[in-house]
Symmetry: C2
Subunit: 198 residues, 2 copies
């Protein structure tokens, strides 16, 4: 089988990262989330700690930095370009699962790529965020909505597409059937899609 | 197993109707597309030929009729309400697959309901529309885009939601892997989802 890639975009708390990790393990291919920061750092010359800080700072500083009134490429855009280059190189080099970072858009013209979007009802996500991430405090719904809003803004800004629009992905699903079952369904779809693309 | 419903929204030419029919057959449950017209006719008192004509007239006359300056409920809204009532009654009475007609929105508060959206790349749809429906003439892409535009407008108008927004559905997929394979994946998802919902 030729090299292929799987990109996963996900609502916060839908288990997208856990699903991606399990999927990569079952498919026997690489898994890249934070690991992309190291690759982007090598590409950009920016320090990986700095990229990671920017990655965690989220919406407010992201947009602030994007509109800095200097005659240089703003830092978030530099990071986006470096991550995009790292994702493209990676997808050429090896089969892999890539979490977030507009992977579906970056690999938009790659034939052997399955684009996934994972979402789930709010009550399911609240449970998962409390149990798995110990986050959200007393306002988990507000916390989750804020993370989703950041992800949507980031995606829409850099891609000019709409985050969560079904047609941007090959398969989108509600993961509240559970992580193992979601992985099973996605694995079948990926195998069918890639065998057809070859 | 309790009664359950499956709703299918679909891009024009993605094979959504054929997939729904095959799915209903494999699940051993009812299939409703044009059949809903008869049920809505019984509900509304409008003649089924008239509803069918309205169903086929598409965008221009649809919006024209909706804004008729008479102090009565406009005909398209009467039909929408009658179809919605028919869909709700049907979902209470028996397990079924329902094609189009904003089924996912109409059954929005029903627990035992799997909401599906089917789409596919344009080149796949052009082939299917030519082969299966003998439609589209010399401008199949333009023809397909017009049908999609009508479906999106109808859905967005009556539901105030966004047609094709992944989170409105439980599973959305690109059917270019083929009809039989798409049916297989959807069947597995439906069985998992319904067994969890019970």
């Amino acid at each position: 089988m030729k090299t292929y890639s799987v990109t996963i975009a996900r609502e916060y708390g839908s288990g997208g990262r856990l699903i991606g990790k399990q999927l990569a393990s079952e498919l026997g291919i690489g898994f890249y989330d934070k690991e992309l920061i190291v690759l982007a750092a090598r590409e950009s010359g920016l320090h990986e700690d700095f990229i990671e800080t920017m990655d965690q700072k989220k919406a407010s500083s992201f947009f602030y930095n994007l509109y800095m009134p200097y005659n240089v490429v703003p830092i978030p855009e530099q990071i986006f370009l470096a991550q995009s280059k790292a994702i493209k190189d990676l997808a050429e080099r090896e089969s892999c699962v890539i979490i977030g970072r507009c992977g579906d858009y970056v690999l938009g013209d790659v034939k052997n790529c399955v684009r996934i979007f994972i979402h789930a009802p709010m009550e399911y996500r609240v449970e998962l965020v409390k149990k798995e991430y110990q986050e959200g405090g007393n306002s988990p719904v507000e916390f989750i909505r804020k993370q989703d809003k950041y992800r949507a803004s980031y995606y829409d800004f850099f891609t000019q597409h709409k985050w969560g629009r079904a047609q941007n992905y090959n398969i989108c699903l509600d993961s509240s059937i559970g992580i193992a079952k979601t992985v099973g369904i996605l694995k079948t779809y990926i195998e069918e899609y890639i065998s057809k693309a070859e």
